[in-house]
């Protein structure tokens, strides 16, 4: 037997009477977080158990909330299938890039000075990128709608992509120049101890414990990541190009395609929230008052490494790029 029916369903019943048939993206994303604002508690266990309290405090209880998050859409409208299709194509491009530069033994052409910069500046980047990956996952797991969760989780995957491409090339440079470049300590020691890296590590470690989901989102996607991405995807691109490392420059450009997607879903989310509740601008700006200057200070402290390159980027230039990164996203989000 099949079920009797009164009318032919256009879509899921939970999406209501729709005039337009929802897209495939909407059909596999809308209303998956049945647990958000569920009564008496998100999870079907003791309402007072620790996890229920965590979500009630940090998600339902966040000051960054509107009456309905389900109307939000990621401008890229990515389903999982779309995401892996897109990144499959982009990774084919980067595979080709690697082939091209490996074929000419590009790493062997690094000058001594640029190899030193690579070692001091690029090799340890794996650590902060890993923290950005962790933080994106936190935003995803706490978000009140799947439309947000999925965008944040794809962003985390993009960070892993960036990290692994740096890791791969680090090994290539180590093979060509100095095996020590690929040792864990070469990356971890500066990350844990070198002066230039400490403000960045402090900013990222403290950001990890910003557990309010709204603050976690704002700190990461409007404060820290725009500044960090400006440093890596823009300033480092320029630095690499000045030092004849076209491979690294092209890689940074590629990273910024992912970052642009992050900026797009971030600005759309803030705009969505502000349209529903303009007073949230104060909430977001309040968090940014804390996180934006910390991120700038962190990037500026890295200036010394950019300045030590054979063909440097000035510290002030770097700081300005980071500020511009933050200004651009705040403006696009309607916060300026």
């Amino acid at each position: 037997m099949t079920t009797m029916r009164r009318r032919k369903a256009r879509t899921w019943s939970l999406l209501g009477e729709v005039k337009r048939k929802p897209s495939a993206y909407e059909a596999v994303t809308a209303k998956f977080h049945y647990h958000f604002r569920r009564d008496p508690a998100p999870w079907e266990l003791d309402p007072e158990m620790a996890f229920n309290r965590w979500y009630l405090e940090h998600r339902e209880g966040s000051p960054f909330n509107v009456d309905d998050w389900e109307g939000y859409r990621d401008p890229a409208k990515l389903t999982y299938k779309d995401y892996v299709t897109l990144q499959h194509e982009r990774e084919l491009y980067v595979d080709g890039l690697v082939d091209r530069f490996e074929a000419v033994d590009h790493a062997a052409s690094y000058s001594e000075g640029w190899t030193d910069t690579f070692k001091a500046l690029i090799v340890p980047l794996r650590f902060p990128v890993h923290v950005l990956q962790m933080a994106s996952l936190y935003v995803g797991q706490m978000a009140p709608s799947s439309f947000i969760t999925n965008a944040a989780h794809f962003q985390a995957a993009d960070e892993m992509r960036r990290l692994q491409r740096i890791a791969y090339w680090t090994q290539v440079v180590a093979n060509a120049k100095d095996g020590a470049i690929a040792r864990t300590e070469t990356a971890r020691d500066p990350w844990e101890r070198a002066e230039a890296w400490q403000p960045l590590r402090e900013t990222l470690e403290t950001m990890l414990v910003a557990y309010d989901w709204g603050e976690a989102f704002v700190a990461l996607n409007l404060g820290v990541k725009p500044a960090f991405d400006a440093m890596v995807n823009v300033a480092l691109r320029d630095l690499a190009r000045r030092n004849e490392d076209e491979f690294m420059a092209l890689l940074c450009e590629e990273f910024d395609r992912d970052a642009a997607r992050s900026r797009a879903w971030t600005t759309a989310l803030v705009r969505y929230a502000l349209e529903r509740d303009p007073t949230l601008a104060d909430v977001v700006n309040g968090w940014l008052d804390t996180w934006a200057p910390k991120a700038i200070a962190a990037v500026e402290a890295m200036g010394v490494l950019f300045e030590q390159a054979p063909e440097p980027v000035a510290g002030e230039e770097l700081g300005e790029m980071a500020r511009e990164g933050q200004r651009e996203i705040a403006g696009a989000a309607g916060l300026a």
């Binding site: 596999v28 998956f32 266990l45 995957a157 892993m160 992509r161 692994q164 971890r188």
Partner: protein
């Protein structure tokens, strides 16, 4: 194709553990999100080593191909009449599957994401990120497929809405999955979701059901779930290194307890979901194994091997409770689900025609004496036109742990339980009812996790369900009259080997 093999560079992307100094470990990995069970300092977790490695580029290249292939099968089949021609019992099996599994799989992504943030080693966090993506895939693909079938089977709506409702099976699913991953810390999730659930039970549901699907001719479902299992078997491997860390640091007892807790809970929900599908809903001629045979081959053997490999013991209830239940528990649930069929979102297939009963007796000697007698009476009532006698007027007791109706009288009748009575437990002045000793034991392990929860029956008795009648409860469960389960074959089984229904009157 990059010149370096993955093994030549991959450690650079894994060895990303560092000592926090601007915040404490407890702040960055709070116990609620990541219980270290006393294994400190955090460096002890850095030895975490996944057995199966994959890079991001390999992941997107592979997954792109897998998705392209599965969606193209779906697209071809959507234009065919394959679904319409499927056996009605099998349709019930997949309607039940999608409702109970699709959205929970997506939510398993939250558990994976939690391990990706709060896992105590970078290599683990990376694997969990792939797990997060995998579960996003599984949630989306298992809602997309039923979405394309909405016009052919309106009950496919439950693939999306089941967890939004208070249908009792949905409550049982939420209670289990929240305990397992959505409301579980990273370390426990690795052991309970990946080591206990995904290495064993999802194999059963996804590969066992895939084998049956291919037999039945449901290429769509078969292609879908076998593709899903290739992801599961990859990210399930997060459990093994986590168990290893616990064992090597002298906490084998913690690992054992976590496994024993979740193995039992998984068993009960899978008996309900997979047990019924395999032994009653799948057409007889297409059953490759009985549920018990699948359990013995895929679960019992695998877990005994795993226990041995990690120096753990078979669960304390293994011989005394678990193995005996293989003979009777899902048969009792089937009888209950069929009788209370208006309370489920699929059409239960009685699956007790003469030939099917012969098969059941062969696979489960004694089935006729224990369960067949009830079906004899039901069949008589149907043939006499007294359908109302085969429908419920009251509710059964429900277990305060697994949230599944208590069926102990059947276990007693089958000679497997010493008493038909449920297990009663008083905690802080409140009485709890459990279907089994292990369910009570799980509660006692951690009462604060469960004590304030109320079962369907607690809510019914507490006045939350109004009016306090069967129709009132069905409405509260979110079941419209069109959606309430009916016998899948319109009682054809009751007439097999006899005159056709209505023939006598014509």
């Amino acid at each position: 194709m990059p010149a370096l093999r993955r093994s030549e560079w991959y450690d650079l992307a894994r060895d990303l553990n560092w000592n926090l100094s601007y915040v404490t470990e407890d702040e960055a990995f709070p116990e609620v999100m990541s219980n270290n069970y006393g294994i400190t300092p955090n460096e002890k977790w850095w030895a975490w080593d996944e057995p199966y490695k994959v890079s991001y580029r390999e992941y997107v290249h592979n997954q792109y191909g897998k998705d392209a292939s599965v969606y193209s099968v779906n697209s071809v089949i959507a234009r065919s009449r394959m679904f319409e021609e499927l056996d009605p019992g099998w349709k019930s099996a997949i309607v039940a599957h999608y409702g109970a599994i699709a959205v929970p799989e997506y939510l398993a992504g939250l558990g994976e994401s939690r391990m990706g943030r709060f896992g105590r080693a970078a290599a683990w966090r990376n694997m969990a990120l792939f797990g997060t993506l995998d579960e996003t895939r599984h949630g989306q693909i298992q809602t997309y497929f039923p979405y394309t079938l909405l016009d052919k089977e309106p009950r496919m709506d439950w693939a999306h809405k089941a967890l939004h409702t208070n249908e009792w099976g949905a409550i049982a699913a939420r209670h289990l999955f929240d305990d397992m991953f959505t409301a579980n810390d990273a370390v426990s999730t690795a052991i309970q979701l990946t080591f206990t659930f995904e290495t064993g039970f999802t194999n059963l549901q996804f590969l066992g059901m895939a084998a049956d699907a291919m037999e039945v001719g449901d290429l769509d479902f078969g292609a879908l779930i076998s593709s899903i299992q290739t992801d599961e078997s990859r990210h399930a491997q997060q459990g093994e290194p986590t168990v290893r860390i616990l064992v090597e640091n002298g906490y084998a007892d913690v690992a054992q307890r976590l496994v024993d807790h979740m193995f039992w809970r998984s068993w009960h929900v899978f008996a309900l979901l997979t047990g019924l599908s395999m032994d009653y809903y799948t057409p007889l001629e297409h059953r490759s194994h009985s549920f018990k045979e699948f359990m013995q081959e895929w679960i019992v053997k695998q877990f005994l091997d795993q226990f041995r490999d990690f120096g753990l013991e078979p669960s304390w209830y293994w011989e005394s409770h678990f193995l005996p239940e293989l003979d009777w528990y899902h048969h009792a649930l089937h009888l209950g689900v069929w009788f209370w069929r208006p309370t489920v979102w699929w059409n239960p297939d009685a699956g007790v025609s003469p030939a099917e009963r012969e098969w059941l007796e062969e696979k489960y000697p004694g089935w006729n004496d224990t369960f067949g007698v009830y079906w004899d009476t039901i069949g008589d009532n149907i043939r006499r036109g007294e359908e109302t006698k085969t429908l419920p007027e009251t509710f059964p007791m429900v277990c305060n742990m697994c949230q599944i109706p208590v069926v102990t009288p059947a276990g007693f009748r089958a000679g497997k339980l010493e008493s038909p009575e449920p297990h009663i437990h008083i905690h802080e002045g409140r009485q709890y009812v459990f279907c089994s000793e292990p369910c009570k034991w799980i509660f006692q392990l951690n009462p604060s996790r469960f004590a304030g929860h109320t079962s369907v029956v607690d809510r019914f008795l507490g006045g939350e369900i109004q009016p306090p009648t069967i129709p009132g409860a069905l409405e509260w469960m979110g079941l419209s009259p069109e959606e309430m389960g009916q016998d899948a074959t319109n009682y054809a089984w009751a007439y097999e080997g006899l005159e056709a229904p209505g023939a006598a009157a014509s």
